[in-house]
Each structure stands twice: as C-alpha cells, then as structure tokens.
C-alpha cells in the first residue's frame, strides 16, 4: 500500500470547509501541546514517533475507519516513517508534506471585498500561524500591508492580477513573525513605510508612516490612523472608508498585548485610548481586518477574518471593560507566553540580524500569541 502526501494547501481547504479529519501527530508531547493544526472538525491523537519505533499495532485500534487520517510531524520525515509502518499493517493514511514547517508557511488568499471602481481587497490567511496580510488592488496598482516573509506569494499574486506593487506598509514592528515588507519593496521598487516610533533602531532606509498620511492606489485610497498600544508606533489603515486594518491593536475576539517590546505598563494607556477613543470615533460600518487571528472560531465561513467595527464594540470583551484598572490588569497581568524567539524576530525586522532562511523558519515556529483575551 502506498503512502500519499497531503499538501498544506489541501489541509487548509479542509479546515476552512470544516471537513472531518483525524490527525495522528507524532511530534513530542510538548510540541503538540504548544502548537498544532487547529480546526473545528478535527480529532487528534498525539503519540511521539519514538514511541512507535517497535511497531504501530497498538495505535491501530485508536484510529477511526470513517474519516481521513493525516500523519503530522515537524518536517515530514517521521510522519512518512509512521505512515509507511501503518501502510504495512494495511491502514491507509496520508502524511503532511513538509510537516508543520510547511503548515506554518502556507498562505491562503481570500477575497474580502470590492473597492472603488472595480478594485479588490484580498486577505492572505496564514492559517497555521494566524498571521493576516492584505493586498489592495486597483487600476493596475497594488498596496501590501503586513506582508509575511513568503514574499513570492505576494509578488506572484500581484503579477497574476496584472498589478504593480507601489506601496508596502507594516502596521508596526512585528515580534511574532518576520516581515516580508522590505524584500517586496526591494523587488518591486515600491515605497516601504514603517511607523517611525517603532523604527528607532531600524538600520535600513524606509519612509516614515505618520498618522493622517494618505495615498492613492489606483482609484482607491489608503489612509493611516495612528493607534499606539501594541507598540508605540502601531498604525491602522482605512481603505476607501470601508475597511479598517487594525494591525495588532484589535482582533475579532481579543485585543492586542502591549508587552512584546517590554513596555506593558507604559503602553497600556495608549492601548486604551486607541481602542476606546480613536476607534470609538470611527464609523460602525467599517469592516475590521486584523493582522492576526488566534482561534479558528474567528474565521468566517469563507475563511476570511473580518467583522464590522460596530459588532466588535458589542461582542469583543476587550472593548467592553468599563473600569480602567480592570483593563490595565487584564493587559499587563496573566499574559500568555511570549512568541517563540520574539526578540530575535524584532531584531531581524529592524535589519540588525539577517538569519538564514532555515533559521528564520525555526524562529517562527509556533503560534503568534499577540493577543490578550
């Protein structure tokens, strides 16, 4: 019996379509507990591959007969071994091609809506890590916001759409993933914008992104709104008075954490003002498009992550804490663990260090953990 590969793209489709899947994750217990493939209709069994070297007979009765089985490990080697052993026992499974590394890097483009005069807005869902990037396309031009380091995906997508990337923005200096912004700007000749307050230690040239800045992309307009709190420079974007990219300030079911640059106490007041004053003053009809999601429940049925600002003011707990001290406690105490390698990721995004590709992959392993709930 042969062993089939399943690609990260195929698994992403299953997750978005809520199809049943059984995952036999053969990484060690800590790795599985830290980060796994999430989905509403997934069942799991975690047995490390090194406990299966003597044979897989004992797992066979724990595997279902009525749903597809996917064997998953970090890079794919162990999952192929286990899938082969299962095949020898007559059990058909697939393995995840490229393992969790490929899962971490897969981007799923989802159209979130139309812009002025036939323009389009796309969200790139990094489903394995919860990062969200954006591309606004209009009149043969494109702007990219919060691009991840898989820059070919953005370059190829723009090319397929016949659009030239003119503007590349980062809403803030990211701590959970390596930005692809600078690389995309270099490849296309686009302008690369960063909020200057986040970029004091940045060692390359960039254009300062100030609140109130406006730029045309074809028939559309991208406008910057200064909204500090996750970082001191954090900036939101309003596109065509319809869409609000909130960066890591506001998510669908949570809000940003202010501590990843080590200044939780200083920035909590900014975070409150951004959420409770600056955003409060905006139109309820704006569709919020965050830079992350944390749980699969935040995905809409089509795989997009988007919700009206007015709905978030009703439903998002982080926007409904009347008491300032209670708010302060929530965002500065009992914070979740910090993202893997976040200090090195920040240095990479400042251009201070330039790790090799393989190292960059390792640094990004795991969930994003940019929120407090």
């Amino acid at each position: 019996m042969s062993v089939k590969a399943m690609t990260a793209a195929q698994v992403a489709r299953k997750v978005i379509d809520n199809e049943p899947l059984f995952i036999l994750d053969v990484r060690n217990g800590d790795a599985f507990a830290d980060w796994k493939i999430e989905g509403g209709n997934i069942q799991y069994l975690n047995i490390p591959y090194f406990d299966l070297l003597d044979g897989v007979e004992e797992v066979i009765d724990q595997l279902p007969k009525d749903r597809d089985i996917l064997v998953v490990c970090a890079k794919e080697g162990s999952s192929i071994m286990v899938a082969d052993m299962l095949a020898d026992e007559g059990v058909e499974t697939a393995y995840l091609s490229g393992g969790m590394k490929a899962w971490s890097e897969h981007l799923e483009p989802v159209k979130v809506g139309d812009l002025n005069d036939g323009g389009e807005l796309y969200q790139f869902v990094r489903i394995g890590k919860g990062c969200l990037s954006y591309m606004a396309i209009s009149g043969g031009e494109a702007a990219v916001i919060d691009a991840t380091r898989m820059t070919d995906v953005f370059l190829n997508f723009a090319q397929e759409k016949g659009a030239a990337i003119k503007h590349v923005f980062d809403s803030h200096l990211h701590a959970d993933h390596i930005s692809g912004g600078r690389k995309i700007a270099q490849a296309t000749g686009a302008t690369y914008y960063l909020p200057p307050a986040d970029a004091e230690e940045v060692v390359f040239d960039f254009t300062a992104l100030e609140g109130g800045f406006k730029v045309a992309v074809g028939s559309s307009t991208v406008e910057a709104l200064y909204s500090p709190g996750h970082t001191i420079g954090s900036t939101s974007f309003i596109v065509d008075d319809q869409y609000l990219m909130t960066g890591d300030i506001l998510f669908i079911d949570s809000i940003g954490r202010p501590d990843l640059a080590g200044l939780a106490e200083d920035w909590v007041g900014d975070l409150r003002e951004s959420l409770y004053s600056r955003y409060e003053a905006l139109a309820n009809e704006l569709v919020v498009l965050p830079a992350h999601f944390m749980i699969m429940d935040e995905l809409n049925e089509d795989g997009s992550v988007a919700k009206k600002l007015g709905d978030l003011f009703k439903e998002n707990h982080g926007l409904n804490i009347e008491d300032e001290q209670e708010f302060r406690n929530m965002v500065t105490k009992n914070l979740p663990p910090q993202p893997n390698a976040y200090e090195d990721i920040r240095k990479t995004n400042m251009g201070k260090i330039t790790p090799e590709n393989e190292m960059q992959r390792e640094m990004e392993i795991g969930p994003n953990r940019c929120a407090v709930r």
């Binding site: 060690n28 217990g29 800590d30 790795a31 490390p48 591959y49 090194f50 406990d51 070297l53 490990c73 970090a74 890079k75 080697g77 162990s78 071994m81 390792e362």
Partner: protein, 75 residues
Amino acid sequence: MNADKVLDAKGLACPMPIVKTRKEMKDMDSGQVLEIQATDKGASADLTAWAKSGGHELLEQQVDGDVLKFWIKKG
C-alpha cells in the same frame, strides 16, 4: 564529559537521530553513557522527551557551532 560510546548522527534528519540512538542504546549496559552528535535542531526536544519516556537520563547537552551534543545515561 566522558562517554562509553559516541554516535555520529550529524547531517541526519528526523527521525534518524533517535532511531540510531535507540539502536546504540540497546547494545549498551545500564549505567553506560552514550554521546550523541547531531545537527538536526529538532533532536534537542526529541532526545529529551525520548530519554524521559525510556527511563534514561539526559546528563548534559552542549552546542558546539552547528553541532548539538548530548550525553545520555542508559536507564
């Protein structure tokens, strides 16, 4: 640190470092120490978890350039 045996698992990808470690260990006596040299970054977490589940003791680990070194005492 002294070892009774040295296993060169450099350049091998997961799962081979553990597969080889396990095989070496089978031929050793309880209390003997095996030194493992590997370059696969996943080896660190996996050898730690494997040693624990197998009742062995991870005495020490070091990083020497690109090479990860582990000393495991057979349980």
